[in-house]
């Protein structure tokens, strides 16, 4: 009886070991997709602290849905969708607006110092221009132009049609360009 119980019911040590094995397996999954989630969250949320919070939520949802996710063909698509939704949720909870982290690293690859500074300034303005976009426009632009997803993949991630996404992308690009132009027009 005791032997049967020992076989059927894992003891505390065995349970811990099973939990550790599962944790190790999940950690491998996190390592595999951490760049996708953290970078996307950073590009949409605009700062590292929010991106960290969002990424944690995404991986916790992944953990809770592991059974569903295992049968899934396109885990990346699922992660993009959950990440975008987590970004939107956070923005609703903290509606102060997107604060873009502006790094001092302006290395642009230009050999001419003046050109390097100009290029760095341009990139800075581009980064700032993301603030003026609506959350959907920003997400569409990030997924299409920075993550390199196809329009259909972006549509799936945003839960919209491809036509809606194309409209959001074109509006976002026009706004970005308009912002950069007005940014340099105002500067001497």
């Amino acid at each position: 009886m005791a032997a049967t119980a020992a076989i059927d019911e894992p003891r505390g040590d065995a349970r811990d070991a099973a939990r550790e094995n599962a944790a190790a397996g999940f950690e491998a999954l996190v390592r595999q997709y951490e760049r996708l989630v953290l970078v996307t969250a950073l590009r949409i949320a605009g700062n590292m602290d929010d991106a960290q919070d969002i990424s944690q939520e995404v991986f916790l949802r992944l953990y809770r849905n592991l059974d569903k996710v295992r049968a899934m063909q396109n885990l990346s698509g699922w992660l993009y969708r959950v990440t975008v939704n987590a970004c939107f949720d956070l923005r609703r909870r903290r509606p102060a607006g997107v604060s873009v982290e502006l790094s001092d690293d302006f290395a642009s690859g230009e050999t001419d110092p003046q050109q390097a500074v100009a290029e760095a300034e341009r990139r800075r303005a581009l980064e700032m221009s993301l603030r003026i976009l609506s959350e959907k426009e920003r997400a569409a632009l990030v997924l299409r132009d920075l993550e390199g997803l196809s329009t259909e993949e972006v549509a799936e991630a945003l839960g919209s049609s491809a036509a809606t996404v194309r409209s959001q992308i074109s509006k976002a690009r026009i706004k970005v360009k308009g912002f950069v132009e007005s940014y340099f027009r105002r500067r001497p």
Binding site: R19, A23, E27, S55, L60, S108, L126, E127, S170, I174
Partner: protein, 195 residues
């Protein structure tokens, strides 16, 4: 500023390679004739290249380490928090089954259980309502008020002449009054006392 505002959206899509082939050909034809839109497209392409370059920098590894540590900590906490629910659910189901199996079944309603014939109906004239303070059988009603003992009065409407025993007659209606105004029991019997 771009003067061809109606072309702007399509040129913006064209610059990122997002137009279907038919529309791409249309935009290319327009760009061949319109310097303004050509400039708009090339500037937009340059902006997109700069934006990608800005975002192509790798995130420092310590950010990934921090993320992984926080995620695994929360996952561990979550798995420990929910590890008790399976045994608890099994226990609850077992307890519910035992309770259902051993719980004493309620006795059948006495009016159904005791199918003994009642007394023969009275043939003699009676007062308007004859009150019988003690019932001949137990009647289970809603629980009476705590401080008032339950009493059941049986009132038999009279004035109805008793039919001859060998003829089919209307049934006798016995109305049982309780001290609870919400409980009134009707007992319908035939003349032989069956119900």
């Amino acid at each position: 500023m771009n003067q061809c505002s109606e072309w702007q959206e399509r040129v913006a899509l064209f610059a990122g390679g997002d137009l279907p082939p038919a529309e791409t050909a249309e935009v290319e034809t327009h760009l061949a004739d319109c310097a303004c839109c050509r400039g708009f497209a090339s500037e937009l392409r340059a902006d997109l290249v700069s934006l990608r370059a800005r975002h192509s920098r790798a995130i420092a590894p310590e950010h990934y380490v921090r993320l992984r540590a926080n995620v695994m900590q929360r996952v561990d906490a979550e798995s420990r928090r929910w590890s008790w629910w399976k045994p608890a659910l099994a226990f609850a189901v077992a307890a519910a089954l035992l309770f259902a199996f051993f719980w004493p079944k309620p006795a059948p309603h006495p009016a159904v259980a005791r199918r003994t014939p009642g007394p023969a109906p009275s043939h003699s004239p009676a007062p308007a309502h004859r009150r019988i303070d003690a019932p001949r059988f137990a009647v289970r009603t809603r629980p009476p008020h705590r401080h008032r003992p339950a009493t059941i009065a049986v009132s038999v409407p009279v004035g109805t002449p008793a039919p001859a025993p060998d003829t089919a007659a209307e049934p006798l209606v016995v109305k049982l009054l309780t001290n609870d105004p919400n409980v009134v029991i009707y007992w319908i019997t035939d003349t032989k006392g069956d119900y």
